[in-house]
Point group: C2
Chain length 425, copies 2
């Protein structure tokens, strides 16, 4: 291939190095295109295990992997760490600060962030879990709450410090509640002399009728019973009215709590605004059956940023869906470049749902398989290790889990932050 041919190759710009972005990039490995992947982070984050970083079971490097390490060896790839600020659909270029990146095809996979349903002021007191930094922030809050309770000499204050509210009964909320319970019940008791971390109150709050609404009702029930059997309080049909540094107001009363974790709503990143496309209430771009944006056949939106309907039901915002969309879009682009456009529309194959509740308990619902308890837990662990990126992370996570399982220890229980810890308050 001579220089001229190279210069004439269509340019594909992918914005976002999450599950969908990586698959789109990999899918274009053999295509006659030049691919540029832009992300404002230098790493891909394996979000399904982020809650384990937040609860001191894993280290950040266990669930994150430098994007360059994943795609760097792909010859037609350029990876740039850049914070995209807009898209010029007329000039067909992506803007990041002073820089412009022209595209022939654009794939937007910018993900989603927490939604506080119009109450953004709750953000500082009720952090959500999307990035590595969120996880180390929540880890710091959880561990500091126990540290402050140990220092406290006022019983009421100690109670408040040892109360943890998790808002949202989806998989993230359930897994977080189970993991906080394990931290308090198993990892910390020997650490403290003035307080008994086993007496921590962990409350899972869900606005809907049941937790894990994407699972069959009997599995939701099983998870609720298991959580309650462990000592976690589960409150369904409980809507949050107010969050502040002292606690949470529910419709039926107030919970005094020093730590609130938000696992309730998500809102798509501002990709719809960048391209002036129609979006739903959650900010997701309404895409055509081939995942392109109506009126912009050269722009694709995938992952949590897209609203994709399948048999009148939206495709869920989970990793396998984003991966499938990434693979599909790569085929669409490669087909168009090769002059053999793909005819079939995107079809989502739902592989199943998984959620772990804690030590030796999880629920698994696949097409033909349903597991719970210890077996479900083993399956859950094996699947997550399998989907981690890189042998090193697989070994490291498997070792950390084995270690945690055998010793009940949480070795990553570090409180770190930018400034030195202030005086206890």
């Amino acid at each position: 291939m001579d220089d001229q041919t190279v210069a004439a190759r269509p340019r594909v710009v992918i914005v976002g190095g999450g599950f969908g972005g990586l698959e789109a990039a990999k899918g274009l490995r053999g295509a006659a295109v030049d691919v540029t992947l832009l992300d404002r982070q230098n790493h891909h984050c394996f979000q399904p295990l982020l809650y384990q970083v937040a609860t001191a079971a894993l280290s950040p490097a266990d669930v994150a992997w430098p994007i360059r390490g994943i795609l760097g060896s792909q010859a037609n790839m350029t990876i740039l760490m850049a914070d995209v600020t807009g898209v010029d659909t007329r000039e067909r270029c992506v803007r990041a600060g002073d820089m412009e990146y022209p595209y022939d095809f654009l794939v937007l996979v910018t993900g989603a962030t927490h939604s506080y349903f119009g109450h953004d002021e709750w953000g500082p007191v009720a952090p959500g879990l999307k990035r590595i930094e969120d996880a180390t922030d929540i880890r710091r809050r959880l561990l500091l709450a126990f540290e402050r309770a140990e220092l406290s000499i006022v019983e009421e204050e100690r109670q408040r410090l040892m109360t943890f509210v998790i808002v949202g009964g989806g998989p993230t909320g359930v897994e977080m509640a189970g993991a906080v319970h394990e931290l308090a019940r198993h990892a910390l008791p020997l650490d403290f002399h003035h307080i008994d971390p086993r007496k921590a109150r962990i409350i899972l709050v869900e606005a809907g009728e049941r937790i894990l609404p994407s699972f069959p009702a009997h599995l939701s029930d099983y998870v609720r019973r298991t959580l309650e059997g462990m000592g976690v309080e589960v409150r369904t049909q409980a809507r949050v009215i107010e969050c502040d540094a002292e606690g949470v107001d529910l419709e039926d009363g107030r919970i005094s709590a020093a730590t609130i974790i938000w696992a309730a709503g998500v809102v798509a990143s501002p990709a719809a605004e960048w391209i002036g496309a129609g979006s739903d209430r959650a900010g997701r771009v309404e895409v055509a059956p081939d995942l392109s944006v109506p009126g912009h056949p050269d722009i694709f939106v995938i992952g949590d940023t897209a609203r994709v309907l399948q048999q009148d039901k939206p495709v869920p915002g989970i990793a396998p869906a984003a991966k499938q969309m990434g693979q599909y879009v790569a085929r669409v682009i490669a087909g168009r470049v090769a002059g053999a456009p793909l005819e079939e529309p995107f079809r989502y194959r739902h592989e199943g749902d998984l959620a772990t509740i804690g030590r030796r308990a999880a629920v698994v619902k696949l097409k033909r398989l349903e597991l719970r308890g210890f077996l479900g837990w083993l399956f859950w662990g094996a699947v997550h290790v399998y989907f981690l990126i890189g042998t090193r992370n697989r070994v490291s996570v498997a070792f950390a889990w084995l270690w945690n399982y055998l010793t009940y220890q949480r070795s990553a229980r570090l409180i770190t932050q930018d400034r030195p810890a202030g005086p206890p308050r």
Copy 2:
């Protein structure tokens, strides 16, 4: 033992959970005292390996361990995360914010921090390496420099971004220079397409006549030759006049560099001010032969915070020295409580000096043993793994090193910070 006896037990307060503080606490395990250890962090940090976190070889949790995990099972211990703000030597209590902790014996092990020799304004552009947060900050700077160089289209700017200055030719500076070189030479080249990280310029600047002044001259020479053979520029008798965001001014000219790492001077924490004791230029408290403070026989100062002379030479500010002081002070306190005061003064036993230069090269100088090259490197690694706290950290570090050695990869090359990465500049 009845309650009354317990109440009458002398109270020992230890401020600081570094090497000296931990050893003092452990040494008092069997003594009839109540021990309270205060630290503003919740973890002990294994400083000798912190530079490997800064250069993406290890994770923070590999070199840090919760203090509660180390001492929590000791019956006479209370561990509190608190930021000490002063000592009332008349009332005999330690102040941390609103709280007061009365003591019968006080052990101050508050360590040291970087000294910019009166130029504290250099701090933001030339960070030093003392805490976990410093290490992740330096890691972010190192990796961001390459990311920005990849984005840059101006050759001069790219040069500046790929120039790294390490100030200070002691063990920390040497190890940092070697590790940055390895990162650039081995771990990153496949990651980038527009720049060649192997062309990074790494400059080790030392004001004195030779690097590693605590080693015999021929080992200093060996280290210098090895570093230079690798491509690191070593500049001795080079004093830093000015540091700013664009580079460093030396007496003999300017180096344009985006990243400066400070490994030059240390200054003791303000313990001397708290107790109104005499201190040397580096802020270290001048202590009596039993490590107590003249005029305050119930207050001991140890580790990097103390100036201890032995045969007219100051005891070096290294981990083994701090540990020995901690063990000694525990024996002094236990002896006094038991009514059998220890007669002998503190005597420092120098075990030796170690420094690693990089892959397969280190220098080791013990009393009777001198190693260099591959053998020195193996010895260095074995000693460091041995002195790490906890089986889990030993396994994790050994695995990470083996992995790095075999694959040349640095798996912890994550850029994390409080806010999302801004646009490239």
